[in-house]
């Protein structure tokens, strides 16, 4: 199949605005009369609030409103389990708990006002370890829940693990732990809320879930006594997402209430300090994993028990085990699977979605353990993976229907480019190689009632196309990919397609930019809408050109007869002809696409995604055995993407994912000490710089997924999923120590080397 626009390196549509400084991010929004909101956070991780005195703050000139929990309806809660009051009135459960907020005519005055609020606390013993929180005698953090263990019992059982374990020739068991890491979007979180004269709310927002946020803010308005109002979400240019904006947060409700009180636009934008301590990181996990294989290396079972530190409240992130199940049940063919996960309340920061949504934590355990199994069984780690690689047509124990699957090709390509056979197991010069693979949802993920996205298309008198999509752009390039898909289908230049994606008043519903779903779901939605408008267009053109519709083709904005190319008409002229005539018409079409995937049932089974993405990463490292430092000499990332709609943007997703993954593996960690974040700045929380970038080679495997738009599957998250285990496996190959706790710091490597040399 040959394409005009699909598969081309088309620059990102909004890049010109971004390179000139014209793109408006949340901090750039200014509205007439706008006020600035600031939030007072708790001094303690666990305490009763005895008294809050805001009187001094209220008297400060320039302060327009001060609010506390009393200003919200008493039982109003937000979050996935509705356990989080936007302002805390009686008890605080973490150091990021919001106690009061002010708005003033300048950010400086608002900040000064915060210093004037006095809060009396009765400090309580905090619980910072999920294992301690699970003990029977542990104090209960949420009295209304009655237990520190969330009522979210994740449990997947496929086949008979006990039996398979007994029958396995080789069995390994390990425990792996992962740390908190945070998104570090370069633009901090924020919003501007304002009410019009009819009490309808407009939110300038960074959200990744405009439609769900609209719904949640409507609920809030109802709770505040404003029934039957409208909420309009306008997304500004979003300065990084990575899952951080996949929920609504207290600061947004605080801005709404301040705006309601003052009848003025209220802006809250986080400082970098706040961005570190008051946004929600990736969950830290404790994972006990056991897997086995027979004499020929065929996997027999996989058993995983996981404990997740939920933190003080519950966001959507508490559902990450639903995605962790995916690699646990379906990465490589494994007939018997058991997985349980327990989410536990603690007085730590509460966790949220982050690129990969649980998959990196699970894959770190699975792929590290798999190398252990390879060693135990004496089978080369490469062979073990090839023997068990998933294949097209397979139905996995969890019920995933694998359509396209390029896992084998990914493993083979990576091994070839790493020179695996030559390099592996030599330990020469303290160098080693390692690989790890991934499975991820590549055709949406049905985690909500709908996994759909709507598109409206119109064509104007000049042959230009406006596409109104529910999709969100967080820098990944939805704006461009959707334009390409529509342009390809309609036969118009990609510059002629304008994608509008940032306003719930104009754009149709979408569940949000997450789960690597936008190219697949929003792309399909746009494609089907384009097909509809094209059908109408061809009918009109067939009349104008006086040829049958099937003889009409459009290329570069010109319609012509395929059999007699002399007969042609520019699209713009054709559109004007049918518009400016008695009983004229203009071309419009819409489509709502909801993929054929399934919600997981009560047993956590079901075909979660309409297609699955695969990939393998390989890495060659050199370990400095005197310092424990790990240097990456070469990195290969192979991904089955279905089809590369835009290789330029696709590579960008992989390069970016890989570097985030390397940070996760080697350098990033939020250090909490009894509930207090100790390294909430870019100097001490170490996201990687340009100096830390290793040579990365990208391999794109195209398997042409039938259900995807022009064959495409998702690629937003996979780039960082197998990074940490690939590196850990390479370190083991180089120097014979296995680090089971992320990040793999020089200290840990050196300590392990010393222990190994002792024994």
């Amino acid at each position: 199949m040959s394409f005009n626009i699909i598969g081309k390196k088309i620059p990102k549509k909004d890049a010109p605005f971004k390179v000139t400084g014209q793109a408006l991010y949340i901090d750039d929004v200014e509205l007439p009369g706008m006020l600035y909101g600031k939030i007072l956070y708790s001094k303690y991780p666990h305490a009763r609030i005895l008294h809050i005195d805001t009187s001094k703050a209220e008297k400060l000139p320039g302060v327009k409103a001060v609010i506390t929990a009393k200003d919200f309806p008493p039982h109003f809660r937000i979050g996935f389990m509705k356990d989080n009051p936007p302002l805390k009135g009686t008890k605080v459960l973490s150091t990021r708990d919001e106690i009061a907020a002010v708005c003033a005519i300048s950010p400086e005055i608002a900040e000064e006002a915060l210093d004037l609020i006095s809060v009396e606390y009765e400090v309580l013993q905090g619980i910072f370890d999920p294992l301690v929180a699970m003990r029977e005698d542990a104090p209960i953090l949420h009295e209304e829940v009655g237990s520190n263990i969330l009522k979210l019992p994740w449990r997947l059982v496929c086949g008979d693990v006990e039996k398979a374990k007994k029958e396995s020739a080789y069995v390994v068991e390990d425990t792996f732990t992962t740390q908190w890491v945070t998104h570090c979007c370069l633009a901090t979180s924020g919003c501007v809320a304002y009410f019009d004269v009819n009490n309808n709310l407009t939110m300038y927002s960074n959200t990744q879930i405009p439609s769900l946020a609209q719904n949640e803010f409507l609920e809030a308005l109802t709770a505040l006594g404003l029934r039957n109002r409208r909420v309009r979400i306008i997304q500004v240019t979003i300065g990084g997402g990575f899952g951080s904006k996949l929920d609504t947060y207290p600061y947004e409700y605080i801005a709404i209430l301040l705006a309601l009180k003052t009848r003025k636009p209220v802006k809250i934008v986080f400082s970098r300090d706040e961005e570190f301590f008051a946004t929600s990181p990736r969950q830290c996990t404790i994972t006990k994993i056991s897997q086995g294989c027979d004499r020929d290396g065929r996997l027999t079972f996989r058993e995983v028990e996981m404990i997740l530190d939920n933190g003080a409240y519950t966001s959507w992130g508490a559902t990450t085990p639903s995605v962790m199940m995916m690699p646990i049940s379906s990465l490589y063919r494994v007939p018997n699977v058991k997985y349980t996960a327990t989410c536990v309340y603690t007085n730590n920061t509460y966790c949220q979605a982050m690129r990969g949504y649980g998959n990196p934590q699970a894959t770190f355990a699975i792929e590290s353990s798999l190398d252990h199994l390879a060693e135990e069984s004496g089978i080369d780690p490469y062979d073990l993976r090839i023997i068990n690689a998933n294949e097209p047509g397979e139905i996995t124990p969890q019920g995933f229907r694998v359509t396209t699957c390029g896992l084998k090709e990914c493993i083979e390509e990576v091994a070839k480019r790493l020179n695996w056979k030559e390099k592996r197991g030599r330990g020469l010069k303290k160098r080693g190689v390692g690989i790890a693979s991934l499975i991820h949802v590549g055709g949406g993920a049905r985690v909500y009632k709908s996994d759909g996205c709507g598109t409206i298309i119109k064509m104007d008198d000049f042959g230009k196309v406006d596409v109104f999509t529910g999709a969100s752009d967080i820098g990944q390039g939805a704006d461009t990919v959707i334009a390409q898909i529509v342009a390809e289908e309609l036969g118009v230049p990609v510059e002629d397609v304008n994608v509008i994606h940032n306003d719930t008043d104009i754009c149709p519903w979408d569940v949000g930019v997450h789960a690597s779903r936008t190219t697949f779901v929003a792309g399909n939605s746009a494609l089907f809408a384009a097909k509809k408008i094209k059908k109408k267009l061809l009918e009109i053109l067939s009349k104008l050109l006086e040829v049958p519709p099937e003889d009409v083709a459009i290329k570069n904005g010109i319609a012509f007869s395929k059999s007699d190319p002399q007969k042609s008409i520019p699209l713009a002229r054709a559109l004007r002809r049918i518009h400016f005539t008695t009983g004229g018409s203009m071309l419009m079409a819409e489509h709502f696409y909801d993929p054929q995937n399934e919600n997981l049932n009560k047993e956590f089974r079901g075909n979660l995604s309409a297609a699955y993405a695969y990939g393998t990463h390989g890495v060659e490292v050199e370990v400095d055995t005197e310092t424990g430092k790990v240097k990456i000499l070469k990195y290969v990332a192979a991904h089955d993407v279905g089809r590369a709609i835009n290789p330029l943007l696709l590579e960008g997703q992989i390069y970016g994912g890989v570097l985030q993954g390397i940070g996760y593996a080697l350098s990033e960690k939020m250090i909490y000490d009894n509930g207090y974040l100790k390294n909430g700045n870019f100097l001490d929380y170490k996201i990687l710089t340009v100096r830390d970038v290793p040579p990365v080679e990208i391999v794109i495997i195209e398997t042409n997924e039938e259900a995807g738009p022009f064959g495409a599957k998702g690629i937003g998250e996979p780039g960082l999923v197998p990074t940490a285990p690939a590196i850990a496996n390479a370190i083991y190959d180089a120097v014979g120590v296995r680090i089971r706790d992320l990040p793999i710091t020089p200290e840990k490597v050196l300590k392990a080397l010393k222990e190994k040399n002792k024994g």
Binding site: T627, S667, L683, D684, K686, T689, V690, D692, E747
Partner: protein, 312 residues
């Protein structure tokens, strides 16, 4: 941010007078520490007196001694070929200090006066026996850098006094130096631990022969031979960062090495001594045991590098 007034004197005298008349004031040079401290509400001065428009403070003088003005930026130092050739440890230090944007404004005087235990220029200046030049109303005084550091973020200087520069003795022939910063990231990072060394060697073998060897052979080959030549150490300096409240000289290790033949064994022993002198703490940036261990490794590596550079 707290309000302050900002003054831009054109001479040292004007700056000293301003300080006297203003009372509540602090000096600011590149501002990369002062501005951060103000923003983080660690300090709230009513007046800032900028030193960066005083031309006299911005020069590197290469006379009998090397004199570096306090407001010389790290970028200026980095680009200085003379410093790169003769005071290589200092070049090493500024190369990995902060970022380009920071180096463009941050000054050596600021780095030293801020006196962070991790200050990158501190260890190199220590191994060059640097003296701090300080001006006050009465005139100029001069103190060894080693005595200038009192503790973390604390120096031996009255608030109104101005550090005008650093005086570095001219190094004898066959001197070489190195600074190794051990950090997690390759840029924009603070040292977990750092070591600077300077050796002045007194070779008893044919210099030209050694030089030819250095030129012809790869570094590792030369390095392996270097220790078999029986070169005597005439003078040794070892300074360590982030292992004590202030940048620290490992004098015991220096004394041990002085007069010894430069052998693998001697270097290892000196590194062990340096490590035993270090008194690091557990902090979120690094654990004490690891820092002590790294002093050993980095000292050995820095000595070898210094020795090699002595023949460059």
């Amino acid at each position: 941010m707290k309000r302050f007034d900002y003054h831009v004197p054109q001479s040292i005298e004007e700056a000293l007078n301003l300080f006297k008349s203003l009372g509540d004031a602090i000096y600011i040079a590149g501002g990369t520490d002062v501005m951060v401290n103000i923003k983080r509400k660690k300090i709230s001065p009513k007046n800032l007196i900028s030193l960066r428009n005083i031309t006299a403070l911005k020069v590197i003088e290469k006379g009998k001694e090397l004199k570096i003005g306090s407001c010389v930026t790290h970028e200026q130092l980095l680009k200085d070929k003379y410093i790169e050739k003769y005071y290589t440890a200092l070049h090493d230090a500024v190369r990995k200090l902060g970022s380009k944007q920071i180096r463009n404004v941050a000054t050596i005087g600021g780095n030293i006066c801020n006196a962070a235990p991790s200050a990158d220029t501190a260890c190199p200046l220590l191994v060059f026996d640097t003296k701090v030049l300080i001006r006050n109303e009465k005139g100029e005084r001069k103190i060894p850098l080693h005595d200038f550091f009192l503790g973390p973020y604390s120096v031996s200087k009255d608030e109104g006094e101005i550090v005008t520069g650093f005086e570095i003795t001219f190094l004898p022939p066959y001197s070489g130096s190195a600074y190794i910063k051990h950090s997690r990231r390759e840029a924009m990072d603070l040292a977990i631990v750092s070591v600077a060394t300077r050796l002045t060697l007194s070779p008893e073998v044919d210099i030209d022969f050694l030089k030819r060897e250095a030129g012809e052979k790869t570094y590792s080959e030369f390095e392996s031979r270097l220790l078999s030549y029986g070169i005597t150490v005439k003078e040794a300096r070892i300074a360590m960062g982030v292992v004590a409240p202030r940048p620290l000289r490992a004098k015991e290790a220096e004394d041990y090495l002085c007069g010894k033949r430069l052998t693998d064994e001697a270097i290892r022993e000196a590194s062990e001594i340096a490590s035993s002198v270090a008194k690091p703490r557990d902090t979120l940036r690094g654990e004490a045991w690891y820092r002590r261990e790294m002093v050993k490794v980095l000292t050995r590596r820095a000595i070898l590098l210094s020795a090699k550079r002595a023949f460059d």
